[in-house]
Subunit: 364 residues, 4 copies
């Protein structure tokens, strides 16, 4: 579809389905980078299409997304619609030979995600999930700190994402907010989750849970906890990452110093023979807030997606990453329904199974 | 033991067992209020006893706590020793006819707590557990807001207590820190917990969990979550209480404005027939930080304990409250060992039972 | 120029001179309100005009502002150019019969400001200065609190506006940042300033002061202090207003709760005969953060300006307000050059005079 | 008075005059260090002396301070009384051959301070002023950063010390609070102040100013500003220090990270010939919060004072430092009375003189 010759820069032509809450950000970023151009936008709502016309008189608007899929001048489709439509739209786009950029979470079920991954790989097309956070300067810095060994052995990931609204009608608060943390961990942690326990509740009759707490068990004695709430009086976006050498506080609402690296921790003094007598010491050193890249994450991501197509870069949040996260979300839902009963993953077989042998017992 | 006649103020004479971390606060407060006097202190460590002598030359010091129990001039015993010794010391004190003030948590097992409650009630002695937080101006104000109906229907309790240290050797972080929240809820919430799910992990071999997350399910669709960690780079003591009319943020580390009351929430618009179409609105109004009583909590509590003895006041944190909390802690430990599997309480029979029928399922 | 008849809504047609840092905000707001329409924009820089064309294909662009003044279809001119050009451009616009909206500060000298006021009043045209802050929900709430007497007698105004950059080349940091506070006080305080003392320094050779401190003395023992700095490592926008009954903290960087009202202060107990023995008591009560209007200030202001033209509303930041502030700025510059020597205002004669009799001495 | 021989550690014997607000801290610290012992305390108020007896049964109490001066077993006198009595008490103590430790500010006038310095030097006695802040880990770290050149050229010192209360009756808020900043600058800055401008006001009839703003001009284009207020609804203790290479934020109320070092600033690009065209760039790098010594400042200071006596260490806050600060305070009072008129120092002649030639003019 693309002819790449040295010295000639190729511009990816994008069609965007959905111009609701997030779509305008996609249009703006894919328009403003040199690597891509937005050809057309579709939306079911004529008012939203009018808004596109006013803001971007040069972009074609369509009520029916199929016009975009049928357009041979379009290389890639970006999908910013409700989760329930992701699977069908992405599949049709892949079948039409388009590269695909989908909002998170990838699909409503792991089975659907697997099908999309297969469809993309079969056709050698890029399937990219919009895990925006991993393209922020903050998360890229955390990844660097982990990779460099600056944190030492990883101990825990602990995140709080709470605020008032926006209640979703079709997915619960885990699928809406915790998905960000799952994507961050998938990118940053060189670890495999083994089980999940989730609790939560809905305060609105017949609606999905609006407050939830998710514990993820990893191998190597690492634990993650994600705390999400649509009904909180204050807004918090705060993540702690504990390691044996350093600990990180990542506060996404800080205007500057989003990342603070603390030289704090414990020291263990004791013989191997007599672990019971281990003496625990406390270590406190400097704190350091590294300067971060401040380019808008979605811009970095749009450029990366374009280069995945033109230069064959591997997407950092490809369909397989999207699938891994949907698997955890599915398992979390099951645990949530069962009051926190842990659900164990059986990654070899590609699906989560219910287990009576519990991870903590095994780890102990 | 006490002869109360009108116009004559009775001074309670106290013996204190344990002069470690918390003991000095007990000695100071029971010494400085008019309602009581500290007669003697015992500790196994001669250095600690020397410190008592230097600071309080008029207080008798004893290596053996039995000297305190045998002293007919002592009305009440305060116990500030490791948890594992609470049961035995409190029981001996009650058997010696002394009123008892014990550090939290009351005992290591619910069975022990039941035995202490029975021993105190049989002898008509005061058995009081040091749930210090419920005597703070902040928690008393929250209780008032709940009692007045200012918060409306309760939705959730969500608490974070994290910092670096102090690792305990015999109890896990739930028994050390979450116990504060359990005591606050026991005092503030007119609700009965029905089940608990707890997850957590230890990062030190053969030591109790140093990071843990506890979800408590109440009847009426109320949920509580407690988040405790001895290995965090920052110190937080922050609790959110959500209600249908108002929401409270209680930050114990704020030097002033520890309590903020937010007029925020959701409004539901929809017919009963068609709940699926419920429209959720968001409501934002003023925030209000009420002035709080600033008397030291332990002083308020020491006076209350004294009046329980002299005036027959009912202790706000009596043995039965202590027992309720130990029951939850015991169940939390069981859930923790099983990776979050929910443990249901059967309050009628006074013990927690493992249940396959899960609370969230029932509530739905 | 405008024919107002009942039932017919009149749309003000605007021409905007200058499309640099602030111009785009003017274009956006005057475009999006129903009360006005932007007809044309002029700028000396063709690149900026191209940007206008891209963003607003329906707005006419002109390299020469005189095309706007000559356009009979334009009712009002908004000027968003460097301060040094305000006087000339505003005067020409008034002489062309246009209403005028000018960026702050109105002019470089009080004499020029007086001339503009006279020119506008002679022609019965609206002359409006863009004192944006007084159109924020926060400042309007403060005005309300002062008007209602909630603060009691006013004691002081104390403001800190610091951050890194943006160094101006032609005006010092007082004219750039303190002007906001002078405008707020002009709007909120029913008081007349009597003298000013300013200190400051430049850290860049031959450039205007980049750090400055300004004290403003009012009658009635009220004092104001403004603290501005372009070379600070952190950004602060924080104002305290002290009154005898309540005190206000206004933090413009807070995402919510920008205004906090403290029921704090002192109480004086003492006979008039023996003032020396006055006992001072300290009073602490609740804190309250009222909900604020969140409409963008410039939108509120654009609507207000339009109604000044169509409905004869009196501008809240008219030329006379702009003049009062330029007088204070001029006096501040004189004091700044003289190391803080106070400069007294003689408002009757419309100009500031240097006085050996100092305000504080007189007030004492 | 002291016989120092190698291997024998000498313990300084201290008498303390005044057991009001600060005296207890002196007694506690001089008692708990090995270098000194508190022999006797005097106070005019018998209740305060009773408190000493209760807390420290082994310390002698005296209603008349002269008993301390007459006691040959006392080596040094610490004076914690109102400022107005400092001069007389310190002089008598020196005349009695005692080393002297005085609360800040040293005296009410520079003349008195000079007399004390002379009296101490004549007798070869230690005269030490309690500038506590310079013994904190935070200020010692700042001194280190300045000495190492980490900050580059110094640009400014900017401090805010505000809160509600405690109104003093005999000194204004500059003498009470700004004195801390003057002492810190005296210790940290290798610079000589050349003039001061101060403004402020009293809101209580016939009482000293309770809100004040002080600008201090140094040579080398360095400026300092101190902002003090007894009538503020919030408590702030925040100092910014700007340098050409780094900038420091020192927040004394932060429980940890009291010092933050910002790699921020401006860069100047321009030829010397054409300064007008200097381009200013903005530089932003990492932030760093060094770990600080957390020993109580007064303990460090008490040990230092003792070693000044026993080992001939030079006091870091000796009488001459106290005198320098009283000179600035005296000049500030004069400027305050005159509405901010700058008062220039003539250090060669040891006194401040009023000058028509203003520092800023000279610097320009």
């Amino acid at each position: 579809m693309l002819s790449l010759s040295s010295g000639v820069s190729v511009v990816i032509k994008i069609g965007i389905i959905g111009y609701g809450y997030w779509g305008p950000n996609l249009v703006r970023n894919f328009s403003e980078i040199q690597e891509s151009r937005v050809i057309a936008v579709s939306d079911l709502d004529p008012k939203r299409l009018n808004l596109v016309k006013t803001r971007h008189p040069d972009i074609q608007t369509e009520a029916d997304y199929r016009a975009l899929l049928a357009n041979p001048g379009i290389d890639a489709i970006a999908i910013a619609t409700p989760v329930s439509s992701h699977y069908r739209l992405a599949l049709e786009a892949l079948e039409a030979g388009k590269h695909v950029f989908v909002e998170k979470p990838l699909t409503e079920t792991a089975k659907e995600a697997e099908a999309l991954v297969a469809a993309a790989e079969m056709r050698n097309l890029v399937l990219h999930v919009d895990h925006t956070f991993i393209y922020t300067g903050a998360v890229r810095k955390i990844r660097q700190l982990v990779d460099n060994g600056d944190l030492g052995d990883l101990y825990y990931y602990d995140s709080v994402r709470i605020n008032l609204g926006l209640f979703q009608h079709d997915i619960n608060v885990i699928w809406d907010l915790a998905v960000h943390d799952l994507a961050i961990m998938d990118y940053v942690f060189p670890l495999t989750p083994v089980a999940v326990s989730a609790t939560g509740i809905s305060h609105v009759p017949d609606k999905p849970a609006n407050i939830a707490f998710l514990t993820l068990f990893f191998d190597n004695n690492v634990i993650a906890h994600i705390h999400v709430n649509w009904l909180a009086p204050v807004k918090l976006r705060r993540t702690l990452i504990g390691g044996s050498r350093k600990m990180v506080l990542y506060d996404d609402l800080e205007p500057s110093e989003k990342i603070k690296v603390y030289d704090k921790g414990i020291t263990l003094n004791g013989s191997k023979e007599n672990l019971y007598n281990t003496l625990i010491g406390y270590r406190t050193g400097d704190m350091w807030a590294p300067q971060l890249e401040i380019t808008e994450a979605l811009r970095v991501e749009a450029q990366h997606f374009s280069r995945c197509i033109t230069h064959g870069e591997a997407s950092l949040s490809d369909g397989r990453a999207g699938l891994r996260i949907v698997r955890i979300l599915e398992a979390a839902n099951r645990s949530l329904r069962e009051g926190g009963r842990p659900v164990k993953f059986d990654w070899l077989f590609g699906n989560a199974t219910h287990s009576d042998r519990l991870p903590v017992e095994e780890a102990a």
